[in-house]
């Protein structure tokens, strides 16, 4: 295999010897425009800690979360805080949540949590609220207003009147392709709360919403869906800089609807297929999304990972850390007004692992 030295240095990044290495292992986000400083936060999501029996948990998912925490601890300079994006447990059991929290306790930095359906539907968030915190809330950090929603609720009838036992309900919601499933929603109570919460915020304050479900309508059969997405989007419409970061889908997705940028995060546990790979039904995957590099199932960490988010002038750039695969960066581009993949956005730049699904 012949490759001239210059090309080789470029691809392996040995040229970085002269560059950022070793002052910062992460590109330092320098001060942005106006009074909105730039900063970084980490995002770990969808761990799906699954109990087999007693103190035995599925080794594969454990390793995913352990690795993400370990890598996140090596990030330099340290991110301001961390988010956990939901689905810490697989079936919402106390043992699973405790085991997940034990692994997360090794993470050096403040962590805030978003709830996922796998955490919620066994006891409707009771243990979560005892051990972790409220199911929806907001906070401010360096001039950015952050909102955490519980976006995996569903119709009352399905939640309270359909299932013989809490575990039956949890198993029904755990099955992604369940024909007897029920769509996610934020619900009127939270919409009312969100309206009041955002009323206090100036229109030029950047707003970032953390949600488990997409706050979009992408593919209903797999609940890549939020039934009242338009209502939430309407509340975000007045803001100059609005972003939604969501989990649940276990794959790279991104979109722009009006003024709102949408970005999905990866799971530490396992990847999910893109909706187009289910040939029997149509889907609405955002057209600008460049798919993640196709996974090699023989490497169980492939197409899993975690990410850190650079806030630049109030918009986001997500750096996906993908072990056994290639890292990707999807950043909001002020020139086009849309998020884009920093390397592969143009179709001519795609490589076979992105087109050979």
């Amino acid at each position: 295999m012949s490759m001239n030295r210059r090309a080789f240095l470029k691809t392996t990044g040995a040229g970085l010897m002269a560059a950022a290495f070793p002052v910062s292992l992460v590109k330092l986000a320098f001060g942005g425009e106006g009074s909105i400083p730039d900063f970084t936060f980490g995002y770990i999501s969808d761990a799906h800690i699954q109990q087999i029996k007693g103190t035995q948990f599925v080794r594969n998912w454990d390793m995913g979360l352990i690795r993400a925490v370990r890598e996140a601890n090596l990030l330099t300079p340290r991110p301001d805080f961390f988010m956990f994006g939901g689905d810490l447990a697989q079936l919402g059991k106390k043992e699973e949540l405790d085991h997940g929290l034990e692994i997360m306790s090794n993470l050096r930095g403040k962590v805030r949590y978003v709830i996922g359906e796998h955490d919620y539907y066994l006891d409707l968030g009771k243990y979560w609220q005892e051990k972790i915190g409220p199911l929806y809330y907001s906070f401010d950090h360096k001039g950015v207003h952050f909102v955490v929603l519980n976006s995996i609720l569903t119709y009352d009838k399905w939640t309270y009147e359909t299932w013989p036992s809490p575990m039956d309900r949890m198993l029904a919601m755990a099955r992604l392709d369940n024909p007897k499933g029920s769509p996610f929603m934020v619900g009127d109570q939270q919409i009312a709360w969100l309206k009041k919460d955002l009323a206090k915020i100036k229109q030029n304050t950047p707003v970032v919403v953390f949600s488990h479900s997409p706050i979009q309508k992408i593919f209903k059969p797999w609940n890549f869906w939020t039934q009242d997405a338009e209502k939430v989007q309407a509340l975000l419409k007045p803001f100059e800089k609005a972003t939604v970061i969501y989990g649940h889908v276990h794959q790279i997705q991104y979109n722009q609807i009006g003024n709102i940028t949408f970005q999905a995060v990866m799971a530490t546990a396992w990847p999910w297929p893109y909706p187009e790979s289910y040939s029997q039904l149509a889907n609405c995957l955002p057209k600008i999304t460049v798919p993640m590099n196709r996974a090699d199932p023989f490497f169980e960490r492939d197409a899993t990972g975690w990410q850190f988010v650079d806030m630049k002038s109030g918009k986001t750039a997500i750096h996906y850390q993908l072990p056994d695969n290639q890292n990707r960066t999807v950043a909001y581009d002020a020139a086009t007004g849309k998020p884009q993949d920093m390397k592969y956005q143009d179709y001519s730049r795609r490589i076979p692992p992105q087109t050979h699904f």
Binding site: M1, S2, M3, R5, F8, T12, G13, A14, L16, M17, A20, F21, P22, L25, R59, N60, M63, I66, R67, R70, E71, N73, L74, L75, T76, F298, F299, E300, R301, D302, T304, G305, Q321, L322, P323, D324, N325, N327
Partner: protein
């Protein structure tokens, strides 16, 4: 009549040369044709020159170390040591990889920091724990004045004396190394030639473990028509994970070491820096502790094993993999393991069979002599 016979002689001569060329450079059973860079075609003259350069101990500060010191043809083109020893028996941090079949690798060194045989060959001369030279000048001085080299370079490159540069030196070395190829092992004859008697029953059972429960084939590739036994990728399998930086301070120190000395010198100077593996080349956290998959051909001959020679026997290696990246089941599981490594639950018999299979990968020209 006379012109015809001389014409015939020319034709016959040319055919002989082509035949010789084809058979000399033809791929052995189980291997594809050797990749040859367009700017360095192979010739008998280059091979002869490269052979001499490879064995020349004058290219070191003590006059005692040559490429062949650590890549000894009698020791499977390695040196049988856990980590190699250069001038003054100075120890590095890494186990000498074999030259045999290195021509098929997409990158050279355990961390892939050099892209070709040619570019790799220039590095050990400059490493303080290998040949110890400050620069390549002492080499150039010798090859530009030594009478044998004057003639050999002229024959190989049409250049002599001051016309000779390190480019020609490295191209000759690369060409010589490209001839150190071997296939046609008992496995090759069994798998590609259909000779059912070529491997022992234990080795045949071991092949089944290798491609199924043992999962070895995922990285140490065997294919339908050829077997390189490597995927040319980098994986963190957990070897000596206790030497890796435990916290940000240790990581920053190792990284500082690389920046100050350059990757080649830094990684051989300090075990913790060495443990960074591919990360010292790419700076990518997902590569930390990852090393290149070596070929398994002739593995019987190149003990001890792994990037730091920390595994003495093939049995130890198999135990390590069976435990999912640990020598002892009670050792902690390395947190940054490649997704391909997990406990295998092999029985004692399966493990022994796997070792028997690995021993069937030795090519006949290197096979240990029977007493």
């Amino acid at each position: 009549m006379k012109t015809f016979s001389s014409f015939l002689k020319v034709i016959l001569g040319a055919t002989a040369v082509i035949f010789l060329a084809c058979t000399a450079f033809a791929a052995p059973v189980g291997l594809p044709p050797v990749p040859v860079p367009a700017d360095n075609p192979m010739t008998p003259e280059k091979i002869k020159l490269g052979d001499k350069l490879f064995h020349d101990t004058r290219f070191s500060t003590t006059g005692e170390v040559s490429c062949a010191t650590c890549h000894d043809s009698k020791k499977g083109f390695a040196d049988g040591l856990p980590v190699s020893e250069g001038i003054h028996k100075l120890k590095g941090t890494r186990n000498a990889p074999t030259i045999i079949n290195a021509a098929y690798l997409h990158t050279q060194f355990w961390d892939g920091r050099e892209p070709s045989l040619e570019s790799q060959s220039g590095q050990p001369f400059l490493n303080p724990v290998e040949m110890g030279l400050k620069d390549h000048e002492p080499i150039l001085k010798i090859v530009r004045s030594d009478p044998e080299y004057l003639a050999l370079f002229k024959e190989a490159f049409g250049k002599t004396g001051d016309q000779v540069t390190m480019t020609e030196v490295k191209q000759a070395l690369g060409t010589f190394e490209r001839t150190i190829i071997s296939g046609d092992s008992p496995f090759d004859r069994y798998y590609f030639k259909g000779d059912k008697t070529a491997m022992s029953p234990a080795a045949i059972r071991g092949l089944d473990v290798y491609v199924n429960q043992g999962r070895c084939v995922s990285c140490h590739r065997i294919e339908q028509t050829q077997a390189l036994f490597t995927d040319n990728r980098f994986h963190m399998i957990g070897v000596s994970s206790n030497q890796m930086p435990k916290n940000l301070d240790e990581l920053s120190a190792a990284v500082q070491n690389v920046k100050e000395k350059g990757t080649d010198i830094a990684v051989l100077s300090n075990p913790q820096t060495s443990s960074l593996g591919r990360f010292a080349v790419t700076g990518d956290l997902t590569n930390i502790g990852a090393f290149k998959t070596p070929t398994l051909r002739n593995i019987e001959l190149t003990a001890p094993y792994m990037h730091d020679g920390s595994h003495k026997t093939l049995e130890e290696v198999v135990t390590f993999y069976n435990n999912g990246g640990r020598l002892k089941e009670t050792d902690p599981v390395p947190e940054l393991l490649s997704g391909g490594i997990r406990p295998l639950n092999l029985t004692e018999e399966q493990q022994a069979d796997l070792v028997a299979f690995l021993k069937a990968l030795t090519s006949p020209e290197f096979a240990p002599k029977k007493p």
